[in-house]
């Protein structure tokens, strides 16, 4: 059984590669259509007793998927351990909240500003710190995440610990009305952006920047010798990851209507990282699956109420022990040695 699932990713990729164009298009259309139709598929198998299924689809499931894809660019593709990813999410959300309540700009005008600010903070954090090695980078990014939160708590101009309320909703698109009561349009909005981001990441991964990230993850020094500007590639990975979180933050704030700084704590960063690693680091479909599972499971088992986070924690440990490379691991073509028991240092996702 384990042997079969182990090859699931490669089997899937093989099938995809062998498929003619019409089958690929058909499968994509079915998959995308299924995702858009999800809010209506409220059957007992996947519904969430104790919380509204359609809301759960938007947050946490949709949001986690988007953020996990963004963090995967940083951690999975280029191997930089970022423990403060929530900071960029917070910056996006706060941009939406501040500009939405203080100015007449609408959602679509604020979105690029929010993304721009998230990217700018990515540059500001990344430029000095990305020369640090893995574990040091982890603690510095963790610190950055906490600093953004503490700054928001202690600055009364942006609401202090009470946060900001009365964030406007996006204007209507055709017949879809964005109201607090109906999470469906937000879910579709989020899904549309997520699909765009997946498309962008897949394009990038197959081209020069993606190969540069691969090289940097495997060996920083060799990548540099091969003529890759490692510093610039790393900052770009960081900034793109930040941009994705920024998009997520802006959409999140416009749906939730009021935000408080404590929503943006370290646990969010860690959960998103868990999604990436749990699903299969570096492989975008694995990451999506991981995010769906980790976001959905606590809601699905809400009937356990008290011990549900405990169950979640134990499940995390058990899963990592059984499948250390995640549910859908990345393709293993980088390895010469096929026998897993003898591979001490796999180099996959290894932070050097």
């Amino acid at each position: 059984m384990i042997k079969v699932t182990f090859n699931l990713r490669d089997k899937g990729a093989e099938f995809w590669d062998r498929s003619p164009r019409w089958r690929r298009v058909l499968l994509s259309v079915i998959f995308i259509g299924f995702c858009y139709a999800l809010p209506f598929l409220n059957n007992p198998l996947i519904n969430t007793p104790g919380s509204d299924f359609q809301s759960v689809l938007f947050y946490p499931v949709g949001m986690y998927v988007m953020m996990a894809i963004g963090l995967n660019i940083v951690v999975g593709k280029s191997g930089l351990l970022d423990l403060g990813y929530v900071a960029f999410f917070a910056i996006g959300a706060y941009t939406m909240a501040i500009l939405g309540t203080k100015t007449d700009l609408n959602f679509w005008e604020i979105l690029p500003i929010g993304v721009g600010l998230a990217m700018l903070s990515g540059v500001l954090l990344g430029t000095p710190t990305l020369r640090l090695r893995g574990d040091y980078l982890a603690i510095v990014t963790l610190g950055f995440g906490e600093i953004v939160r503490i700054f928001a708590v202690n600055t009364d101009a942006i609401g202090g610990s009470r946060g900001i309320a009365g964030i406007p909703t996006p204007p209507d698109i055709f017949k879809a009305k964005f109201t607090i009561l109906d999470p469906k349009p937000y879910y579709w909005l989020l899904l549309t952006f997520t699909l765009l981001i997946i498309w962008m990441v897949r394009r990038l991964a197959a081209r020069r920047p993606g190969r540069a990230w691969d090289a940097i993850r495997q060996d920083d020094d060799v990548a540099q010798l091969m003529g890759i500007n490692t510093r610039r590639s790393k900052v770009w990975a960081f900034v793109l990851g930040a941009a994705v979180a920024g998009v997520g933050g802006v959409i999140y704030a416009s749906q939730i209507l009021s935000i408080v700084p404590d929503q943006f704590n370290l646990n969010v960063s860690i959960l998103i990282l868990a999604c990436v690693v749990f699903g299969g680091i570096g492989n975008i479909w694995g990451v999506i699956l991981g995010a769906v599972l980790l976001a959905f499971t606590p809601e699905r088992i809400r009937f356990l109420s008290q011990p549900r986070i405990l169950v979640f924690g134990i499940a995390l440990v058990v899963m990592m022990n059984l499948r250390p490379d995640g549910i859908l691991p990345k393709k293993k073509r980088e390895h010469l040695e096929p026998n897993w028991d003898h591979v001490e240092e796999s180099g996959e996702g290894e932070i050097k």
Binding site: L81, T129, D135, Y136, V140, E146, I150, L310, L316, P324
Partner: protein, 316 residues
Amino acid sequence: MDFALLRDAFWMLTFDGLALGAIYALISLGYTLVYGVLRLINFAHSEVFMIGTFGSLFATGLIGVKIEDEPLTDGKMVFTLLFALVIAMLSSAIAAVLVEFVAYRRLRKRGATKLATLISAIGVSISLVELFRIMTDSLPREFPRIMDKTFLVSYAGADIRNDKVIVIVAAGLMMVALDQFISKTRLGKGIRAVSQDENTATLMGVNINRVITVTFFAGGLMAGAAAFFYILVYENTSFKVGFFLGISAFTAAVLGGIGNLRGALFGGFVLGLMETYTSAVFGTAWKAVISFIILVLVLLIKPTGLFGESITQARV
């Protein structure tokens, strides 16, 4: 900004900072020991500390000291102090060994990636926090006053409180003991060998599994001692106590150069002092920000921390 407070109460703050720093230093030793041997951040170490605080509570409960009791005196006080300290250290050490067994051992044998191991440790950490949250009904717990807290001497406006003196002195003794253990004993030599080169150490006949267990045990003992000192001074604990102390202690370990024992000590004291000074000047809300800014500045100038990394260098 309140520099007058810093000037007037400088020695008072220094003394408090040293007591806090001693606790940080003891916790950061656990991070640094594990990092030296496994090259991994032990994310569950903050929970090992948290379990130590509950171990102390359990110990006083066993003796039958109650919250409303008067502070103990003489022999009974000394006995209670020592008993609670030992129980705290043991409970933390056992917890640390179990953490290694559950979260690390299997993954290490399969040659899993660093990130997979990190997530596994995070899973253990989440589980332990949740377990204690459920067991304590999310409420903080008070610790009975074992000893009468009096001021021993007053120097330049600084009142030297006896419990903090005990903390600083006892923490110093523990550190010396650990240092001797690492540099003098056979097992300590094994730990140094593994942190220098795991493969060569195996070839030289070092039992890696035992060395790793001992490392976690030693780190747990230190965290347990820190937990007892913490609860002795601050007299309360909760399921989330590990989080902030853990982050600070980890920062301290990185500041001094992770993997380096003496660096961790130095980092702990520097961070304790810095946090106390900056919270006097900028208010307690900003102390974490200042600590992190200083950490970033240090890392930018010296990317491996103040003393560089390596347990082996700690001998010199």
